[in-house]
């Protein structure tokens, strides 16, 4: 298997790489990242996705691509919604609408926050349920779960949690109206009832970060960012509720594929035509789970505001603890894109990829319409995170998509073999990064060297024209899932 160079940041996976490819594959990234994708076998998965019915243009991979199951992580694929296109729960993943939220503050690292960082991280740690089996900040009744699934962030706003701007500054205004809670199983609701307002585990985190550098002053200013400023980034998803939604609908489609006579090279790519009743049901459930994910991050952000209030003894409003934006990086969406000179209705799957609309796009909130959609890229623990903006070129080249993070390079066991959790905690402390108490094992598995170089990923996205880099943030406090 090989990649053909298109330019410095774009590589082609030709039709014929695997049998039955309907379109070519395209991998975005520097030569080094593209080569790693080959070694990782992720490119084979890009080629496998290209065999699915109704796929248009190309099966895409973002620079942070790595081997997943079925779809690669960092994969983007669009299917024709007006013809024979399909939807695949595996192309969204189990953690539906996993994503990132960034909160800004008016506070500067020096002199305001640095002396209080240990106190602040302790408060954030106490306000953030996390790890295995952790209950959330709220325990919901069945009726309340249904309202979260239908109303997303609105459910919490109605209860006086947060401010209306928190909804406006979410991708989709904080709620996907297409959600159909009736398609969410009792099991999924049972898993979700106790988990609203919790991080979960794995690579999820809540970090206190300092804006290191502003690279695009105009966009930075519109987002309320300045150098030396303290921000908080939250990375998490839809918890057990979303996992169960994927499990349920994947099992249904795995069964249905036989009667529909759809053949896929990897069973995890199970899919059905968008016109099929099962596709409608999955989309309704997936959107409901996305509303849960958005509400989950909203509720965690409420804990952040409460923590700042308790440590700095001023109201969150007076401290300027405001939402910058909230993005999802595991989602499928029905979107209109221009392809070969005409508008097409497509179902765009982004698995480990972020939507990145350019300036002027109608679905952006007015405040960001001139600069393009903010894109939030969480680094691995102890490394920088980034704020980017979408471009018109991303709309032309990649169905308005870009990367989602660093992407794993080492397996969990490999990471644990290299370092113990306590040693890693000590090293982070030496770098001036304060850590809230958590599991040493899970910590070691998320060691920074287990991930690709985030700087190279972000540079590649810029090189490929998918996003422009607005700001670089470095961590000073970590609450790990």
């Amino acid at each position: 298997m090989e990649l053909q160079r298109i330019d410095d940041f774009e590589w082609s996976v030709p039709i014929g790489t695997v049998e039955g490819m309907r379109v070519p594959g395209i991998v975005f990234g520097s030569e080094d990242l593209a080569r790693r994708a080959l070694d990782d076998r992720a490119v084979l998965q890009v080629a496998n996705v290209a065999t699915l019915p109704g796929i248009v243009d190309a099966s895409l991979a973002m620079p942070d691509i790595h081997w997943g199951y079925g779809f690669p992580i960092g994969g983007v694929a669009a299917f024709d919604a007006d013809a024979d296109g399909v939807i695949s729960p595996g192309g969204v993943g189990f953690d539906i609408a996993c994503g990132v939220r960034l909160l800004r503050t008016d506070l500067s690292w020096e002199p305001e926050v640095r002396p209080k960082i240990r106190e602040l991280v302790a408060a954030l740690g106490a306000a953030t349920p996390r790890g295995t089996g952790a209950g959330g900040r709220l325990r919901l009744t069945r009726a309340e779960v249904l309202r979260v699934l239908r109303d997303g962030v609105g459910f919490l706003l109605d209860r006086g949690v947060g401010v209306p701007e928190d909804a406006e500054r979410c991708e989709d205004g904080g709620v996907l109206r297409e959600a159909d809670p009736e398609q969410v199983s009792e099991r999924a609701m049972t898993r979700g009832a106790g988990q609203l307002g919790s991080l979960g585990a794995g690579n999820h985190f809540l970090e206190v970060q300092v804006v290191d550098e502003i690279l695009e002053p105009v966009a930075g200013n519109v987002m309320g960012l300045f150098e030396g400023q303290v921000c908080v980034m939250i990375h998490c998803g839809s918890r057990g509720l979303g996992h169960q939604v994927c499990t349920d609908h994947l099992a249904t489609m795995d069964r249905l594929m036989r009667s529909l006579d759809i053949r896929v090279p990897d069973r995890q790519l199970a899919c059905v035509p968008l016109a099929h009743e099962a596709a409608r049901r999955y989309l309704g459930a997936m959107n409901a789970a996305a509303n849960f994910a958005r509400a989950n991050r909203h509720l965690l952000a409420d804990g952040v505001r409460a923590s700042f209030e308790s440590v700095f003894r001023r109201s969150p409003q007076s401290l300027g603890v405001d939402l910058v934006y909230d993005v999802a990086h595991n989602l499928a969406k029905l979107e209109e894109h221009e392809l070969d000179g005409r508008r097409r209705n497509l179902c765009v799957h982004r698995k480990g990829a972020t939507r990145a609309f350019g300036p002027g796009h109608a679905s952006l909130p007015p405040v960001y319409r001139t600069i393009g959609q903010p894109v939030l890229i969480p680094g691995s623990m102890g490394t920088a995170s980034f704020v980017l903006v979408g471009t018109a070129e991303a709309e032309r080249k990649a169905f308005a998509s870009t990367c989602h993070g660093a992407g794993r390079a080492l397996s969990r066991t490999q990471a644990r073999k290299r370092i113990g959790g306590r040693e890693l905690a000590r090293q982070l402390d030496e770098q001036g990064i304060v850590l809230a108490p958590g599991s040493p094992r899970l910590l070691a598995e998320e060691a920074p060297f287990a991930y690709k170089d985030i700087e190279e990923v972000v540079r590649s996205c810029e090189g490929a024209g998918l996003t422009r880099t607005v700001a670089r943030l470095r961590p000073v406090g970590v609450v790990k899932g």
Binding site: I73, D95, R412
Partner: protein
């Protein structure tokens, strides 16, 4: 091979974790996969507990295995403070299985991973002529 006749081991995957499970019969290999899942989640209970029966369906052996593991993920995630004490597959047909699961309180909590679900990715249930069975399944963690 020097391996016991029945057992499980974890497999490497860049972002996720797999289980290899084997036994002298498909039933025992399925049980080992379930025991391995609980071990991965850090939810293995040492004392006898309350037993419940359940059954799952699938289009084939692989589908049944994924359905079994997803059933256990659900039970373990929602049984707060409890772990897997025992798992017995009481009936295994081509498209359905019946099992008895015992959950018991966890005395000494162990660190484990949050398992989101079992996947169909590179799923394999390989049955040898004499019935010995080897399973490979990847989990999303």
């Amino acid at each position: 091979m020097g391996e016991p006749r029945t057992g499980f081991a974890f497999l490497e995957h860049t972002a996720d974790v797999g289980i290899r499970a084997w036994g002298p019969s498909p039933r025992e290999a399925f049980e080992q996969a379930g025991v391995g899942l609980a071990a991965l989640m850090g939810l293995t209970a040492r004392s006898p507990g309350r037993a419940t029966q359940f059954h799952v369906d699938g289009v084939d052996a692989g589908g049944l295995l994924v359905a079994l593991l997803d059933e256990l993920v659900f039970r373990l995630e929602t049984a707060e403070g409890e772990g897997l004490a025992s798992l017995r597959i009481t009936r295994l047909d081509p498209t359905s299985l019946q099992a008895t699961v015992e959950l018991a309180p966890m005395r000494d909590p162990v660190e484990g991973l949050v398992v989101k679900a079992a996947t169909y990715h590179q799923l394999e249930v390989a049955e040898r002529p004499e019935g010995a069975t080897e399973i490979r399944v990847f989990l999303d963690v």
